[in-house]
């Protein structure tokens, strides 16, 4: 009771302690009070302090005047200062209030402070207290003095007698709200309705508004006269307009306004043109492939791809990109690119992309490949040996290149060969064809082919392993980059930029060629012999094949080297790499056969998508094929060979074989069926497919394989080297023919030349080929092709390579796919199709030619023709190499097919299925192709093709792009008529692209191929597109400028009412002038 009593409970004390808690502060006190209130344990707070609400209310009135009445009736007035736990009250400046009213207390009456014991207090009255005075917040959640301007704070302390506003919750109505909100979003109208404005104007201001543009209500029309002053003004206006329109700022702004590009195009998407230019510059600068590869790798993701790859990657996502790129890329740039660097750049880009793509795809397909490759490498020492054999040092690079292709091929092979191979592999098929050539080159492969059955698995494995290795290491990384860069660069350099890379590649190629030659020469022969003879022998030979395979691998390298040389250093490198690959594949093929089987199994599994459906189809096809093969006496052998052929795709060898073995090629054809068994299956499949729309393509593809096969033998021949020379000429001829073939005439020649041999050599093959060829090509073409194959066969390796080059694109996708795609494309673009078929033959011829040239220049054959034909030659040169690579890939596929007859069949089935797929897909591409020029189609295809596909393709077929390029180049070269070539290539590209989709890996391949093709094609297109785009832009700019001028003039006119019209006229005139 007593304040003192509270000893423990010492009073809050000073005014500051007024708070119940005293110094503690309101919160704590309150909080504590609450706690105490909740529980009996108000240890800290005693008495009143334990009463939360009492504390609160008493604290709230601290500082207010109060009248305290004590039990004796006295009333004290003072300022309530504080209170104690016993509810003792403290009044400051208190004085005893006298009963009678007085003016106020006097100083002497006031007591500093008085403490009243609760027991003495009767009542305390606080007058006019604002209980919210010290309230920080209504709910006391956050208590800051600064909260004076909250609604509660404001309303709680309104000065004066304002009645507290009753806050009402705003209820706009649910429907209304939603509607209004929606309306805001959906309301298209912008502001007032014109009629409303008019009405408002009329009501508010009495102005009758109209739509009269003369604004007669506000201004006076310009009166023209012939006065000197008026003329001066008019001239002045015109001058000003001209100045304005000519000003850079104006142009820039107009450009901004007229820029029809989407934000993505401007900021997100990579501009092809720019990229191309960049790539070009980069290529020039980028001699280091690693960066490119990296870039490519990075690009692999998609966007990046899209930009650089745009053609490729962009293709799938957006033809737009491609278009844009094309458009964007100034015609000049594109041209430049086309000239060589551009293409190169594109190619390089593509290559990188391809590489990149592979990674992405790798996730799906590539990984398998990688895994396979890894496993294979580990499993198969042969692959290393192959590598070692194939390349001393150069091989590694070449191999890398080859590997790249192979990787794709492998993918194709593994998966593609089965399924994708057929379709995407049409692209791949080309690749395979390449591979086949390589395999052919690996003639060992042929020999393996016989072995194929037994050895093929081994070979296939090897090939795969090599491929995988190549792909995995090179393709994916440096190897890929290098190869890609090399390829691209070589191509570019083939012209100017590639110099370094080309040189390197050339050097590598040379080395490889040497090595390969040595190996191939020795090995190939046996291999070829084995192949040729062995088809029957295969079973027995298989073991030998293994050895031969190694040899073959070495051979193939050699062959490749040969081819590579023919193609040119670059080509050589690529071809060489392919060849090396092919050889290795061939050698490896045998190993691969086993490996492939496994790998195929894996790949197939991976490829399952492709393979799955395709397999069935393929199986059927295979069966048919097998039947065909079986039917052909040769077929039995062919079966064995098939694997080899698959491996043989390496065709690189084929070129050589063809030459020496003009017969061999035929024999190869024949053999191929036998060998094909591995491959043949594919071929058969292809054929079956070919009959169908896909079938045609397939047939083409198969043909390519056949070519490869033939080439394989040729490869051996090539190894013998005679082929090369022979090939070279043949190639040239064939190329020319091929080029023409598309047109038929040329085809006729090749056919006449090559056809006979082929027919003679391998009836069965010929038959098959014929069947295929017929579908794909006109009978003539078929025949021609056959001949081509035969004749080419000798030459084939080179041709194949070249052909593969063309094919490559397709091959890259999937050999089968290539075929199918080609077929599909062909149908739409008969020329292209023919071309592709023709190209195949032509390519073969070309390859031969290339081979010959290659010695001189990597891409000589191609380059010469290509160059001669177009600025592209360098690129062409590049292409050969690529083709070679592609072949390698193809070989892989074949190998894979060979790997296990069943597997092969399955693969084939898969391929077939893929092919159909491709065919299906192809149709679209074809459409694409039809619409735009062949090139355009390609572009479209690239766009059509999805980056993903591209990636896989790229990854696997990083080479493919090169191949594509080669193909294109080859076409260019072979086909004097660039257009034809381009179209063909494009179609293949299309096919590739289409194929790509079916098979994860293959699609990529196709894409890559497409990409490459697009590049080449794009270049031409780019020209076209660019010009148009530019013109459009310019036009738009002009229009805009005019508009601006007009607007400006109008303003001027408003200012000077008289000259309006004149100025406008002047502006228009100026515009017209401009």
């Amino acid at each position: 009771m007593s304040m003192k009593a509270g000893g423990n409970r010492s009073k809050p004390g000073g005014g500051n302690a007024a708070g119940a808690g005293g110094s503690g502060g309101g919160r704590q006190n309150l909080g504590r009070g609450r706690h105490s209130g909740k529980g009996p344990a108000a240890v800290i707070f005693n008495g009143v302090y334990a009463n939360m609400r009492m504390v609160h209310v008493l604290t709230s009135v601290v500082g207010t005047k109060c009248e305290l009445k004590v039990k004796n009736g006295a009333v004290y007035e003072g300022v309530f200062k504080t209170y104690g736990p016993e509810c003792d009250l403290v009044l400051d400046a208190a004085h005893r209030k006298s009963p009678e009213p007085s003016a106020g207390p006097k100083n002497e009456d006031i007591v500093e402070s008085i403490v009243f014991k609760a027991s003495d207090v009767v009542a305390v009255s606080f007058k006019d207290v604002d209980l919210n005075f010290a309230r920080k917040e209504h709910k006391g959640v956050s208590l800051r003095v600064s909260d004076n301007f909250t609604d509660s704070a404001v309303s709680g302390r309104i000065n004066g007698e304002h009645k507290e506003k009753d806050l009402e919750p705003w209820d706009g109505g649910e429907t209304h709200n939603s509607d209004s909100l929606e309306s805001l979003d959906t309301d298209v109208s912008n502001g007032w309705d014109p009629n409303d404005m008019f009405k408002y104007n009329e009501e508010k201001y009495g102005v009758l508004s109209t739509y009269d543009s003369s604004l007669s209500t506000y201004t006076v029309p310009l009166e023209r006269d012939n006065s000197e002053e008026f003329l001066k003004r008019e001239a002045r206006a015109a001058q000003l307009a001209e100045e304005i329109e000519a000003s850079s700022t104006y142009m820039a702004r107009v450009a901004l306004e007229n820029d029809e590009r989407s934000e993505e195009e401007k900021f997100t998407a990579v501009v092809r043109g720019e990229r191309e230019t960049h790539t070009l510059s980069r290529e020039n600068k980028y001699i280091p492939p690693g960066q490119r590869n990296r870039e490519a790798m990075s690009w692999g993701s998609g966007r990046q791809n899209s930009p650089r790859l745009t053609p490729n990657s962009a293709g799938p996502p957006a033809p737009r990109v491609g278009l844009h790129d094309y458009n964007q890329s100034p015609g000049g740039d594109q041209r430049v690119v086309n000239g060589g660097p551009p293409r190169m750049s594109p190619k390089s880009q593509r290559m990188p992309r391809a590489h990149r793509v592979p990674p992405s795809r790798t996730t799906g397909m590539p990984p398998v490949v990688d895994l396979i490759s890894h496993t294979t490498p580990g499993d198969v020492p042969a692959t290393p040996s192959n590598r070692g054999n194939s390349s001393g040092g150069t091989w590694s690079s070449v191999v890398s290149g080859a590997h790249r292709p192979r990787s794709p091929r492998q993918n194709n092979m593994g998966g593609a060969s089965p399924s994708s191979a057929s379709l995407p592999q049409t692209g791949t098929a080309p690749a395979e064809s390449f591979a086949a050539p390589t395999s052919a080159s690996s003639p060992t492969a042929p020999s393996p082919a016989p072995n194929m059955v037994a050895s093929l698995s081994g070979d296939v494995k090897e090939s795969r392993v090599q491929e995988t290795r190549q792909t995995s290491p090179k393709a994916n990384k440096d190897g890929m980059k290098d190869s890609s860069s090399n390829i691209s660069r070589p191509v570019c350099k083939g012209l100017p930029s590639l110099a370094l890379d080309h040189r390197k590649q050339i050097d590598n190629l040379k080395k490889f060629s040497e090595d390969f030659r040595l190996q191939s020469s020795s090995n190939p022969d046996p291999a070829y012999e084995l192949m040729i003879t062995k088809p029957p022998r295969d079973s027995a030979d298989k073991p030998t094949d293994l050895a031969s395979l190694d040899k073959a691998s070495s051979m193939s390298p050699e062959d490749r080297g040969g081819t590579a040389p023919s193609t040119g250093a670059i080509n050589a490198s690529k071809p060489g790499s392919p060849a090396a690959l092919s050889p290795s594949p061939s050698g490896t093929e045998q190993k691969r056969a086993g490996l492939d089987v496994t790998s195929q199994g894996v790949q197939t599994t991976a490829m399952s998508n492709f393979a799955g459906p395709k397999h069935e189809e393929k199986e059927e096809k295979k069966e048919a094929v097998q039947d065909q093969v079986r039917k052909s006496t040769l077929n039995p052998n062919a079966n064995e060979f098939k694997p080899r052929f698959n491996t043989q795709p390496k065709p690189a060898n084929t070129p050589t074989p063809p030459r020496p073995q003009g017969q061999p090629s035929p024999s190869i054809l024949v053999q191929q069926p036998p060998t094909v068994y591995g491959q043949p299956v594919c071929f058969p499949q292809m054929y079956p497919l070919t009959p169908v729309s896909p079938g045609v393509q397939k047939s083409i593809i198969w043909k390519s394989p056949a070519m490869y096969q033939v080439q394989m033998p040729h490869m051996t021949v090539n190894q013998s080297k005679p082929y090369r020379p022979g090939k070279v000429p043949n190639m040239t001829q064939q190329r020319s023919d091929q080029h023409h073939p598309p047109g038929t005439p040329t085809l006729m020649h090749p056919a006449t030349a090559a056809g006979p041999p082929i027919i003679t050599q391998s009836p069965a093959y010929s038959a098959q080929y014929f069947t295929c060829s017929p579908q794909q090509f006109p009978s003539q073409q078929l025949v021609q092709q056959m001949p081509h194959y035969q004749s080419q066969a000798q030459h084939v390796f080179s041709p194949v390579m070249q052909g593969s080059a063309r094919m490559m694109a397709p091959h890259a996708h999937g050999q089968p796919s290539l075929v199918s795609s080609s077929t599909t494309q062909y149908p739409e673009q008969t020329h292209t199709m023919y071309v592709s078929p023709g190209p195949m033959p032509q390519q073969y011829p070309h390859p031969s030619a290339t081979l010959h040239p290659h010695p001189q220049h990597p891409q000589p054959s191609a380059t010469p023709t290509g160059q001669g034909q177009q600025g592209g030659p360098p690129q062409h040169g590049g292409p050969p190499a690529h083709p070679a690579a592609s072949p390698v890939q193809h070989p892989q596929h074949p190998q894979a097919a060979a790997a296990a007859a069943a597997a092969a069949q399955a693969l084939h089935l898969a391929n077939q299925s893929q092919q159909p797929m491709y065919s299906a897909l192809a149709p679209t591409p074809p459409s694409m192709t039809p619409g735009p020029n062949p090139q355009s189609p390609q572009a479209a295809f690239p766009s059509a093709q999805q980056t993903v596909y591209i990636h896989p393709q790229q990854v696997q077929h990083g080479y493919n792009p090169n191949h594509m390029a080669h193909v294109q180049q080859a076409h260019m070269q072979s086909g004097m008529v660039p257009s034809h070539h381009a179209p063909p290539t494009h179609p293949p590209m299309m096919l590739m692209a289409t194929q790509g989709p079916p098979g994860g890996p293959q699609p990529p391949m196709a894409q890559t191929a497409l990409n490459h093709i697009p590049v080449s094609s794009t270049t031409p297109f780019s020209y076209l597109a660019h010009p148009q785009g530019k013109h459009r832009k310019q036009n738009t700019c002009l229009l805009l400028a005019h508009v601006h001028v007009v607007a400006w003039l109008l303003q001027c006119s408003l200012i000077t009412s008289n000259s309006c019209r004149w100025q406008i006229d002047g502006a228009s005139e100026q515009k017209l002038r401009s």
Binding site: N16, A18, G19, G21, G25, G26, R27, L30, P40, A41, A42, V48, N51, M52, R53, M54, H56, V57, L58, S60, V62, G63, T64, K65, K71, G73, G78, V79, E86, C87, L89, A93, A103, G104, P105, K106, N107, E108, D109, A118, V121, V122, A123, S125, F126, K127, D128, V129, L131, F133, A134, K136, E137, H138, K139, G140, L143, V145, G156, E164
Partner: protein
């Protein structure tokens, strides 16, 4: 503590009427009750009628003879808001000083009018104090008895004019109040006088 909570005797929010031993009738809403000290706090409508203000009465039930619960409220009382203790302390200090100041003035013999004027000025301008019978505003303006407008002296400026306005208004209000108390006629007269 063991004793029943406040809610058991007086639920917060209920209206209670009490008759003290001094025969004073107190009625209001229960705000708080402390059982130990028998202190009951009621909140009543403001005697001045201001809506946002209220009178608070602290009653010692020990001296209450009669307690009637007019209405009982079962609703849970609203949560308590945190209080700004420093603000309350400042208010207490200010009130004390004001009272002391007033006492000083009263002691100085300042007329009621003067005291009223001082209070009025003090409402607007805190910086004012008594100096003998003179009101010193802002240390600048001196208002000497009889504290009329004319008595405001100091530097010519906004301060002086402002103070004059306050003074003028103060007396006008006073007159108005008087007039309210008186007749309209007187108001007019006063007005006239004021105006004069």
């Amino acid at each position: 503590m063991a004793a029943p909570g406040p809610g058991e005797y007086f639920s917060v929010g209920s209206h209670v009427s009490c008759l003290t031993c001094l025969d004073q009738r107190l009625q209001g809403e229960v705000v708080a009750f402390d059982y130990q000290s028998k202190m009951l706090t009621l909140k009543c409508a403001s005697s001045s009628g201001k809506p946002n203000l209220s009178d608070v009465v602290l009653i010692n039930l020990a001296y209450v003879s009669e307690v009637d619960i007019i209405t009982d409220r079962t609703e849970t009382p609203p949560p308590l808001a945190s209080l700004n203790v420093s603000k309350l302390a400042n208010r207490a200090k200010t009130e004390k000083e004001d009272k002391l100041s007033q006492a000083y003035a009263i002691s100085a013999g300042v007329s009621v009018e003067g005291q009223q004027l001082f209070q009025t000025i003090h409402k607007t301008i805190k910086e004012c104090k008594w100096q003998e019978k003179n009101i010193i505003v802002m240390d600048d303006v001196v208002i000497s008895p009889p504290y009329q407008v004319d008595n405001c002296k100091g530097k010519e400026g906004s301060a002086l004019s402002h103070v004059r306005k306050i003074v003028e208004k103060h007396f006008r209000d006073v007159e108005s109040q008087k007039s309210m108390q008186r007749s309209q006629a007187q108001q007019t007269q006063k007005d006239s006088t004021l105006s004069s």
